[in-house]
Amino acid sequence: MHVYIFDYFLNQKKYEKIVAKIETRLTDLGLNGKNCHVGPLKSLTSIVRDELKNNPKTVVAIGNNNTLNQIINSLESLPIPVGIIPVGVNNEISRSFGIKDEDEACNILSARLMETIDLGVINGQYFVSSAEIQNKETIIEINNQYTIEPTGPGKIKIINLDIEQKNNKSNPRDGLLELYITVAQGGIITRNINKSFIQSNNIIVNNLIHKNFIIDNSMEIKTPAQIGTAKGKLKIIVGKERIF
């Protein structure tokens, strides 16, 4: 049985037609399953955990990056395939899986092309694409061997799946994370961006002014943060246009 998790924001009136269209399309494709709508009295996590007792064939996230992130963190390490039907904005992760919109997503679910990829883990929380934090007052420890300290303002980005496709070294199946440190130097006119790049699967990040990490462009995680990979943790249904 398939379980379809409709995120809370889809209860808004403007998404009514899209939700009805998705339900109809899934029925037409013979992909019937249980439709679960997240509401004010039932969280996404509790719905997923209840449905796991029925051994579903697939859990499908209907929503955005945040919906997917919550679902993979609710699966309790079970190897259940996950599908995505993107709705609304903030859907870069589904696009990197080759899924552009809800129509295409239903066809991709029907074709059921599956890939196994790594997940990033930050303080026990999984992420699919990346974790980001500011440089200011941040110290990074790599493999318990050396520390890196940026000397100017900028951004630290730790990538598992490169949804922006700026880095050809990124591979969500190599068991490694890519650490990018960008530091801006100079004035407005002579602004220069210096970049550092390191691959590792054991990173500790401490921010002395207690800024938080943002994972998958959707969720905040407190520092200090221990970051690594969970190799082959996610079975995901993908389209042919995926980036990996």
């Binding site: 493999n143 061997q145 050396y146 520390t147 070294k169 550092s196 790049f197 390191i198």
Partner: protein, 139 residues
């Protein structure tokens, strides 16, 4: 030996330490490494190493091949080719297979050549081959 074919290896750099970061500790890499920033401790890679002209390294350095344009305070151990370009400054001992020092580079320390050096003279019959010899240059 130190021409563009070596430089092309750095296009595939596995690790880049940019000019605006400080690294402290034992840096161990497995591929090509580019250092443009400040490093204290030790640097070891089984790939090629390039040290940029603005970088400052206070560490012992070990790599397969290296092109040095910045400053290193510490011993340098290179299995293959070592090139010191204009502006390079090394305060420490060097152990390398082959070495190329450009005019304007600064080196203070002991240099040990590890690999055999072949000297051939085709014109005369006094051609000689020295294999496994160690040649030391006191700078």
């Amino acid at each position: 030996m130190f021409k563009t074919d070596k430089n092309s290896d750095f296009k595939e750099a596995e690790t880049i330490i940019g000019p605006s970061v400080k690294v402290e500790g034992d840096f161990v890499g497995q591929g090509n490494l580019i250092i443009e920033g400040v490093v204290r401790g030790s640097v070891k890679t089984d790939g090629n190493l390039r040290v940029g002209d603005k970088s400052k390294i206070e560490a012992s350095v070990a790599a397969e091949n290296a092109i040095i344009s910045g400053e290193i305070k510490g011993d340098v151990n290179i299995k293959g080719d070592l090139e010191l370009t204009v502006g390079a400054k090394i305060l420490g001992d060097i152990e390398t297979g082959t070495i190329c020092i450009a005019r304007g580079a600064f080196f203070s320390g002991k240099c040990t050549m590890n690999e055999g050096i072949k000297i051939k003279d085709d014109k005369k019959d006094n051609g000689r081959t020295i294999n496994g010899a160690e040649e030391e240059i006191e700078a």
